[in-house]
């Protein structure tokens, strides 16, 4: 049932106070989720709270390892557009 925070996390603290299970671990280089504590907010909230406030696409995975906020879903930036801009900047 446990969710996972991966390395794209920017340690913004937003999830920390929201977690009803105190499963978020404030650590470096980025925050982590204590899999033993995480309930995916089942029984507490309709949506997993960490994933509902996280501003970084792809930083939180569900129990199947799938990004809960896939690319483009939060910023509205089409992934192809972002990739093209990054390639263009790298070529300068």
């Amino acid at each position: 049932m446990a969710l996972e925070i991966i390395e794209s996390c920017v340690s913004c603290h937003a999830c920390l106070a929201l977690c009803p299970s105190q499963a978020i671990i404030e650590t470096r280089p980025h925050f982590l989720i204590d899999a033993g504590k995480c309930s995916g907010c089942l029984g507490d909230f309709a949506d997993a709270q960490c994933a509902a406030i996280c501003p970084i696409e792809g930083a939180i995975l569900d129990e199947f390892g799938v990004a809960m906020n896939p690319p483009g879903s939060l910023t509205g930036i089409p992934p192809a557009r972002r990739a093209a801009a990054q390639a263009e900047i790298a070529a300068r």
């Binding site: 920017v10 340690s11 913004c12 603290h13 937003a14 920390l16 106070a17 929201l18 909230f45 309709a46 949506d47 709270q49 509902a52 406030i53 501003p55 970084i56 939060l74 910023t75 509205g76 930036i77 557009r81 972002r82 801009a85 263009e88 900047i89 790298a90 300068r92």
Partner: protein
């Protein structure tokens, strides 16, 4: 000419950023007393007093299209960017260290890098400790407003008497183009519905603060094609509700910043567009034109950042005697306030003299924008060394500060930021709309390129007070018959 003897250090290079406009003009005495030593709220105070931001608030409860939450760059200077996050204890220590080192430091603000009120425990713990340990420092906070109504009581309890709310719109359809989502009642909410909630909370928070007697400044980001016309309505409404100052700032959007607007090609406003909008709003309310859009961990006078002197390891090594520092600070403050008061009285007197003059036919000569490479209120910087130019509008009735143009690149220039334009081309581009540039010295190449761009370089007023020099040049242009027609060469970029 005698340079003004001010106890200032650095920062904005203007002598006075608003002589004939009188930004403080429309304020009551009570508000004036509250903001007279606040560099962000009072134009003339920013030459004497400094501010600092402590980055204790990383979390945010909304997403704005001009913000990228991943950003953390030492070379960037813009809101939302910081180098190191502080705990409340570290922030208090840093504040005391800065206040003891820089007696000009009058204001401590919490502005991010997220939203201060989305981090209530960290933000209010910082304020609580500072109110006790540094009673001579004013505390202020800026917010997107979403959590503001539930925080007003606590803000009042911590003696916060200045709050800035960023209000970019009052229409949810406009808001939907600026805010992709908010986090509200344990859910992420998207689109128009999200914008409607945010707008309602901002307006409610504004009303509650005003009712408590807490001063409210409204910040708006000017986004061409999205909220430019709309901001005139915003200005009217927030003034009607009691905000005392409106700060319209230009959107900063570059692809390298990784923001929605940057990547989607949304352009930033040109300086003339920003000025036109500020002028349009000025009829309704006090406008702020000296904002430098600083980082969420900036330290020092507006326009400078001394954050490097106060990193965590450096303040750890400092031994602070704050009792002794408060004595020094009080002495500095008394001296600065006396000078400010004298300046203000001089200005008032001058404006009274103007008022009693008989009205004559509309004075001859059109207004002219001039850029000045200034230092400490004088035409004292070499063209090529200036990091910013102050822009003044000269006309028959006087000289008015209208803004500043940065010429340094936003990023120090590694391969991921910056572009092919040369520094000189960038500078000339930044001066679009100005017909004259005054500086202490200038090289032959830039002189030629400026002339070719329709901007007249002028190095004849080195070390003279800025406003006197601008007025003299305007009168010379008038006498030479240059001011009865619209300029053709100095077109806006």
């Amino acid at each position: 000419m005698i340079a003004p003897q001010a106890p200032r250090t650095a920062g904005c290079s203007a002598g006075s950023c608003g002589s004939s406009a009188g930004q403080m003009g429309g304020l009551s005495d009570k508000i004036r007393a509250k903001v007279q030593d606040h560099p962000c709220y009072s134009e003339d105070a920013h030459h004497y007093f400094a501010r600092m931001h402590v980055a204790v608030a990383p979390a945010c409860n909304i997403q704005c299209h001009y913000c990228n939450r991943k950003y953390d760059c030492a070379n960037e200077s813009r809101p939302g960017v910081v180098s190191e996050l502080l705990t409340p204890d570290q922030a208090v220590k840093k504040t005391l260290a800065v206040a003891a080192t820089i007696p000009q430091m009058s204001v401590l603000g919490i502005a991010g890098p997220g939203d201060p009120l989305a981090n209530p425990a960290r933000t209010f713990e910082t304020f609580r400790q500072l109110a006790l340990k540094a009673p001579d420092i004013k505390l202020c906070v800026s917010t997107n407003g979403l959590a503001l109504p539930e925080c007003v009581e606590e803000l009042a309890r911590h003696n916060i008497d200045h709050v800035t709310i960023t209000i970019n719109c009052i229409d949810p359809d406009v808001g939907a183009k600026i805010y992709p989502w908010i986090f509200w009642n344990n859910q992420r909410i998207h689109g128009r519905k999200a914008a409607a909630i945010l707008i309602a909370q901002q307006q409610k928070g504004l009303e509650m603060l005003v009712a408590k007697g807490i001063l409210v400044k409204v910040n708006s980001v000017l986004i061409p094609g999205v909220n430019d016309e709309h901001l005139k309505e915003v200005s009217k409404l927030v003034k009607a509700k009691g905000a005392f100052l409106h700060n319209v700032m230009p959107l900063i959007a570059e692809a390298a910043h990784g923001t929605f607007y940057g990547l989607m090609g949304q352009r930033s406003p040109r300086p003339d567009e920003l000025k036109a909008l500020q002028d349009a709003c000025a009829g309704d309310m006090n406008m702020m034109r000296h904002c430098r859009q600083c980082r969420a961990d900036a330290v020092g006078m507006l326009g400078e950042d001394r954050g490097d002197e106060f990193t965590l390891d450096k303040i750890e090594a400092m031994d602070i005697d704050y009792e002794a520092a408060m004595v020094v600070r009080a002495a500095f403050r008394a001296q600065a306030m006396a000078e400010l008061e004298a300046k203000r009285r001089h200005k008032e007197k001058a404006s009274q003299i103007l008022r009693f003059q008989p009205r004559v036919a509309k004075p001859a000569g059109r207004p002219v924008l001039m850029a000045v490479a200034a230092k400490n209120g004088a035409v004292a910087a070499h063209f090529g060394h200036a990091k910013e130019f102050l822009v003044y509008e000269a006309a028959a009735d006087g000289v008015k500060f209208v803004g500043h143009r940065k010429v340094e690149q936003y990023c120090a220039g590694n391969e991921t930021c910056g572009d092919a334009e040369s520094v000189l081309e960038r500078s000339i581009h930044a001066l679009a709309g100005c017909e004259v540039v005054l500086c202490s010295r200038i090289g032959i190449d830039p002189w030629r390129d400026l002339e070719a761009a329709g901007i007249q370089p002028n190095g004849e007023h080195a070390m003279e007070p800025v406003e006197d020099a601008v007025m003299v040049v305007w009168r010379e242009m008038l006498a030479a018959g240059k001011l009865d027609f619209k300029p053709s060469a100095a077109k806006c970029a």
